[in-house]
């Protein structure tokens, strides 16, 4: 069970553990001294606790995402670490202040009375007496941070969240469950280890300390297997003995946004690169904006993006030119403004299209988007769609304002239309489920929905590497919409692994494995 999950476990676990430990330790190092100062100074305590509380009310995923622009577009470990460290501050800080303020005033005076200096009183009386409360804060912080660390996947930091985000998008519930179970177990184990150390200190019981060290050892043990064993290189263990390896020694960082097609394409693109000796680092589950910013900053070497996305969300254009015009204009804009090379069009388009079931189409006589006008129907899409010009424009052109709208994750849209809960969805044209659910795509004669040609974007830095670009040549115009839809369907419907689908797609493209 979970064989696939175990294969990538060392990296995900090590990433998660490193992030969590670094964040908790930093939180501790900041909060305790700050708490000590604030406990004795009401003017400081109020603002400090206020700030920490405000940080705490920011949803974890938003705090993590915010750290990316705050750190100048940097993705990966540092923004995730910064957000989690901030997150760990409040419980420790609050408990340090409360714990210190709770020390009996008589005892504090007695401590001075017997001849302690202020510092001796702090170390010998205040902190030992406040310790149980401070440690309780530390335990709360640990559980929060280990849990929230699963959210660092979308900012490009590897963690147990990779299981969850990929699993959610590829409908691999086993992976989701696995990620949840491991991170929950880690949170509980860390909580108990801290508790053991606390008890051993309070009772001066060496056996409890030994048990604590043992527990910590168990938590860290999976890291050792990673250090000693051969590097688990994942899908890329093919050797190309005797071939020239012009990319040998180079690490190429690929972005995969959080949906099936992106996971498959990242796996696919890594193949020709690895064949030339490159090491591949896939940052998966990234948000669209995060991925693009990382491409600008050069932290990501390559990503697959779509002309319509760049056009609307990055260039903020609202007109809809023909497909070829949009392709050349986005390419030029990216190059001129960010030095990003729009290298290879992959050959397929993944656009929005209004889709209905065959029965609905028959019942209401639907053929074009305009036929939806004034029908008592509900349309579902991902939440961002209803904020985009695509929606407002089609709504205005075809008179769709009478439709009810519902935002939901694309993973669940298809079940919703199949069960009749909604009547219309905005399907992605490469989605394998269009065929599987026997959906009808409605014609859109006015061309209000922009084209979404998939292309590989290469960062300014990586674009200087000819060998890298040459490696991508086999992918140019290699994937038709039908091919992409079929590959997506393998994952979304047949429950194949991303790697198996990429294997199949690679075989279709190259005729060889």
């Amino acid at each position: 069970m979970f064989a696939e999950e175990w294969a990538v476990f060392p990296g995900h676990y090590a990433g998660h553990l490193t992030l969590s430990f670094a964040a908790i330790l930093s939180g501790l190092l900041v909060s305790v001294p700050l708490g000590i100062r604030a406990a004795g100074d009401a003017r400081l305590a109020g603002p400090v606790l206020g700030f920490a509380s405000v940080v705490q009310t920011i949803p974890g995923i938003a705090l993590l995402a915010l750290m990316v622009p705050v750190m100048g577009g940097r993705i990966g470990f540092w923004p995730a670490y910064a957000a989690l460290a901030l997150y760990s501050v409040l419980p420790i800080l609050r408990n340090t202040i409360v714990g210190l303020q709770g020390v009996d005033a008589d005892l504090r005076e007695a401590a001075l009375g017997v001849g302690m200096t202020a510092r001796q009183r702090l170390m010998q009386v205040d902190l030992p007496l406040a310790a149980p409360v401070i440690v309780a804060g530390l335990r709360t912080a640990s559980v929060w941070v280990v849990g929230a660390a699963t959210l660092s996947t979308p900012v490009g930091a590897e963690s147990l969240g990779n299981y969850i985000f990929q699993g959610l998008q590829t409908r691999n519930w086993g992976a989701v469950l696995f990620g949840c179970l491991v991170s929950a177990a880690l949170a509980l184990a860390l909580d108990q280890v801290i508790r053991l150390f606390e008890l051993s200190a309070a009772r001066r019981a060496r056996r409890l300390a030994i048990a604590g060290i043992g527990g910590l050892g168990l938590i860290l043990a999976p890291l050792l297997t990673q250090l000693s064993g051969p590097r688990a290189a994942g899908p890329q263990d093919r050797s190309f003995v005797g071939e020239v390896e012009p990319l040998s020694g180079r690490t190429v960082t690929l972005a995969a946004k959080a949906f099936t097609e992106q996971y498959i394409l990242a796996d696919l693109i890594s193949r020709p690169l690895e064949a030339r000796g490159a090491r591949i680092d896939v940052r998966e589950g990234l948000g669209s904006a995060v991925a693009f910013n990382a491409l600008i900053s050069g932290e990501i070497d390559m990503s697959v993006d779509y002309t319509g996305t760049i056009w609307a969300t990055i260039m903020k254009r609202e007109d809809v030119p023909p497909r070829a015009v949009m392709y050349s204009e986005t390419s030029a804009w990216l190059w001129e403004n960010h030095g990003i090379l729009a290298y290879a069009p992959l050959g397929f388009e993944n656009a929005y299209a209004y889709a209905v079931t065959r029965e609905t189409a028959r019942e209401y006589g639907l053929e074009t988007v305009g036929d939806l006008s004034d029908k008592p129907l509900t349309v579902a899409s991902d939440p961002e769609f209803f904020g985009r010009p695509e929606w407002t424009r089609t709504r205005d052109i075809y008179g769709l304002s009478g439709l009810k709208t519902r935002g939901m994750d694309s993973t669940f849209m298809y079940e919703a239309i199949a069960s009749g809960e909604v009547d219309v969805i905005t399907a992605y044209t490469t989605d394998g489920r269009i065929d599987a659910y026997d959906l009808v795509l409605l014609d859109e004669p006015a061309g209000a929905l922009p084209p979404y040609d998939a292309f590989i974007l290469v960062s300014a830095e990586a674009a200087k590497d000819r060998a890298l670009l040459e490696a991508l040549e086999p992918l140019r115009h290699a994937i038709s919409s039908d091919l992409m839809r079929a590959a997506n369907g393998r994952v979304d419907l047949e429950r194949q692994r991303v790697r198996e689908a990429a294997d199949w797609l690679w075989l279709q493209i190259t005729g060889s494995d």
Partner: protein, 254 residues
């Protein structure tokens, strides 16, 4: 002269808590500061060991002025006992007693000997009580440990802030006796704050009556009873006098 306080004055905002208080103490002598709540007696006591810094006046101990030393070093030379005992709950009884010697940097041997001796003297032998936690002690036992802790650094003087107030009458009586024995054995001087004249009477060589931040009369108990300086002193003596009369009447009747 061991200890002298001269013209001690302390204001808290607009309130003058202590106003020009002066007194002195010979080695081994005991003084009780007595008065109603808010008369400034506890503030006066804390001015002596610099838990509160005076606005004016000075304190000398063995010829040395208080501010010639850092506050913590000054306090290590003066024992301090408070009403709630104030034992550190995370330390054993022995560790509580050893606190000041440790701060003074004594050698371990000497600390251990001193701790054993004091626990012995206050009737809580180290073998039975040394490793206990303060929470396992009765109120009287805790106050004895507090006393042992105050004496551990071999101070020449001990300050006691209502040390018997929280105890039941029998325990209080026993402890007052014990302190007398301790003084006979170790020979320290003491300043005690109390609001109970009979406690002061039994404990102290001299009594200073305070009101509104000033000492209004000082002398032996006999002198106060014979010649109360004013109505306030008289009022302070009234309750113990009545108690004494009814008690002696009760003992006199068959």
């Amino acid at each position: 002269m061991l200890l002298s306080a001269r013209d001690l004055t302390k204001r808290f905002g607009d309130v003058t808590a202590v106003c020009g208080v002066s007194f002195s103490l010979e080695a081994g002598e005991t003084l009780a500061l007595i008065g109603a709540s808010g008369c400034g007696k506890t503030t006066t006591l804390k001015l002596l060991n610099r838990l509160i810094e005076p606005d004016a006046g000075e304190v000398r101990l063995g010829g040395e002025e208080a501010h010639q030393l850092p506050a913590h070093e000054w306090r290590r030379r003066i024992g301090y006992v408070i009403q709630s005992a104030g034992l550190f709950p995370h330390m054993s009884v022995a560790a509580n007693v050893a606190v000041t010697p440790r701060l003074l940097g004594w050698e371990d041997d000497r600390i251990a000997r001193r701790t054993r001796r004091l626990l012995e003297l206050v009737g809580l032998p180290a073998q039975a009580f040394g490793t206990r936690r303060p929470e396992a002690l009765s109120g009287g036992q805790a106050q004895r440990v507090g006393l042992a802790r105050a004496l551990a650094g071999e101070p020449e003087i001990v300050l006691m802030d209502e040390p018997f107030s929280a105890l039941d009458p029998l325990t209080k009586d026993q402890l007052i006796e014990d302190v007398a024995h301790l003084r006979a054995e170790l020979g320290f001087a003491a300043v005690m704050v109390t609001h109970d004249f009979s406690e002061a009477l039994r404990f102290a060589d001299r009594i200073a009556v305070m009101q509104a931040g000033r000492v209004i009369q000082a002398g032996t108990a006999r002198e106060l009873i014979a010649r109360p300086a004013d109505a306030a002193v008289e009022a302070l003596l009234e309750a113990p006098r009545r108690t004494a009369e009814s008690v002696s009447a009760a003992f006199a009747s068959p």
